[in-house]
Structure formats: C-alpha cells, structure tokens
C-alpha cells in the first residue's frame, strides 16, 4: 500500500471511528489513539477480501472493542463496579409522552449518565449492538447488561425531563 492509498483509507474511515471511540471514552486524545490503532491493525493484516461495507463493519467492531478495553484497563475506576451491586428488578418501560428532545439534548443527557449506564445505553442505542455482543466485549452477563440498560433508560428519562 502506498502513502497515497493509506491517506485515502484514513480519510474514509477516521471520522466515524473517532466518533465511535469518543462516545465511549469521552476523551479526544484516547479516542484518536484507539482510532489509529484500529486502522493500523486493519492495514497490518494486508489486503483483505470483502466489500467496503464488511471492512467498515470490521473496523467499527474492532474500534468499539479497543475502546472498551481501554476503558477497562487504563482507567482507575472499574467501569462495571456498580453493576455488581445491581439486584433490583428491571423497571417497567415507561412511554415518552412529551415532545421528542433534539439529539444535542439527548447526547448531553447520555454524557451526564454515570458508568456503566452511559456505556451500555450508548452501545445499544447508538452503536446498535445487541446484549450478547456487549456481553462478549465487556465480560458481563447479558442479564446484568439488561438491568443496567433498564436503569440507565430511567436515569436518561429523568435527566432529559430536567433539561
């Protein structure tokens, strides 16, 4: 691969990957590093077969995995420490009856959520992962993740109503 090809590849994939990593890590420096690691890992594998969509999907999954690993291994506070104390049952789903907030408000509210709620809500709602994929990436049980999601959804609703 030439420098020109590497640059073109970078320009296609860097922004979505950076945004994905940034949503998880909430730190621009770390997100850039994870984005670069992901692209370099792909390029180090040589020319791969498959469609551009498959390449994008591989990059996105790898980026999310790396960002979660970064979160779990390089931060002092364990991400899922609070999850271990989750014993209560899932809250019943409440329908949102008010006018839908704009996405800026939603992102601000999600950023205000403590971990692990922010992470799990982001992975389910924004990144579109299912519980089994998140369980595999985080080492948590699916049932725990469902509880975290349900509680996170309640917290998000509360925050949004206060905005």
């Amino acid at each position: 691969m030439t420098r020109q090809e590497a640059t073109a590849f970078y320009r296609i994939h860097s922004k979505p990957l950076y945004n994905t990593a940034l949503r998880i890590l909430k730190n621009g420096f770390e997100a850039e590093e994870v984005m670069q690691d992901t692209l370099l890992k792909y390029l180090a594998g040589g020319v791969r077969s498959g469609s551009p969509a498959q390449a994008a999907a591989w990059l996105r999954t790898t980026c999310i995995r790396k960002a979660i690993d970064q979160l779990r291994t390089h931060r002092k506070d364990p991400v899922f420490v609070e999850a271990e104390n989750l014993t209560e049952r899932e809250q019943p789903e409440t329908e949102w009856t008010e006018a839908l907030p704009d996405m800026g408000q939603i992102i601000r509210a999600m950023n205000a959520l403590p971990q692990p709620y922010g992470l799990v809500l982001n992975l389910v709602l924004i990144e579109g992962l299912n519980y089994s994929q998140i369980a595999e990436m985080t080492g948590q049980k699916e049932v725990t993740l469902r509880s975290i999601y349900a509680r996170g959804r309640q917290k998000l609703t509360t925050i949004l109503k206060q905005l």
Binding site: M1, R3, A6, T7, Y10, R11, S14, K15, P16, Y18, N19, T20, L22, R23, G28, F29, E32, Q36, L39, L40, L43, A44, E93, T94, E95, W96, L100, M103, I106, I107, L125, I126, E127, G128, R153, T157, L160
Partner: protein, 150 residues
C-alpha cells in the same frame, strides 16, 4: 421499545459530527510509515531466515548421506551401495545377537522403497528420495555397530 429509544436509534447515524483533532492525519501517517518499515523488516528477516535454513539443510544433506559418495544419481546404484553397506554390517554384528536383532528390525523391508516410488518421478528425483531414506537408515546401522564396539 419506547418512542424515545426508537428515535435515538434512528438518529444515531447522524451523530458522527465531532471533528478530528488538528494534525491527526499527519500523526496517523507517521505511525503507519513506522509500522510499514517494521513490517517490511520482519518480512525480510523471515525470508532471510527461511533461505538460510534451506541453505543449511542443503549443505548438511550431502554430509549426512556420505555413505553414497561417488554414487551417481542412479537409483539402482544407490540401492546397491546401501545393500553392500548393510551386508558388511551384518558380518560385523554376526557375533552379537542383540545387534543382529536391531539390524534386522532396522534394515529389512518387505518391498524395497525403490519399487514403491511412482514411475512418474525422474531417476534424479528418485535418487534424492532414496539417498535421504537409506542415508537415514545407515545412520541407524552405524549407531548399532558402535554399540558392539563398546
């Protein structure tokens, strides 16, 4: 799924709006160039090691099949030389029952290898295989004879 969740999911693709920090592309290209250099160095080292290993094997092979020195790449001549050496070994080991037993186990073959080789192989290709096979057996014969001398 609630209306809010559905709404967030639908809007998710439009969220990649954060701009990359300044200089991010240059930093990436620097890392890419470094990793490319490292990858090329690794490929060179692997290739060099593989070639060195092949050269070493080729250098050692004639020494290992020293018993066939002077024999041309003729399958019949190689087999004849092998039989001659084995015959001499039997004479040396004649007085030692254990050695005789070991030699018998080592060298007797119901169908000679030469007769089992595909006819499609050229005489030179057959010779390479026979040298390797009988050379290895003769090493074993040599070791058996050394136990007698002790």
């Amino acid at each position: 799924m609630s209306k809010l969740e559905k709404y967030i999911r639908e809007q998710a693709p439009s969220l990649d709006t954060a701009l990359l920090p300044e200089g991010a592309e240059d930093r990436f290209l620097q890392r890419w160039e470094a990793s490319e250099k490292s990858r090329k160095r690794r490929i060179f080292l692997y290739t060099f090691s593989a070639i060195a290993a092949v050269v070493l094997v080729l250098a050692v092979l004639p020494w290992k099949s020293d018993s066939f020195r002077g024999v041309e790449n003729n399958p019949d001549a190689i087999y004849a030389r092998y039989l001659a050496i084995v015959s001499d070994a039997w004479e040396v080991a004649a007085a030692d029952e254990d050695a005789m037993y070991m030699l018998s186990s080592l060298t007797e073959e119901p169908v000679p290898l030469q007769d089992q080789l595909p006819e499609e192989l050229s005489p030179e290709e057959q010779a390479v295989i026979l040298r390797a096979h009988y050379g290895s057996l003769l090493e074993g014969v040599d070791k058996v004879l050394k136990t007698i001398k002790r």
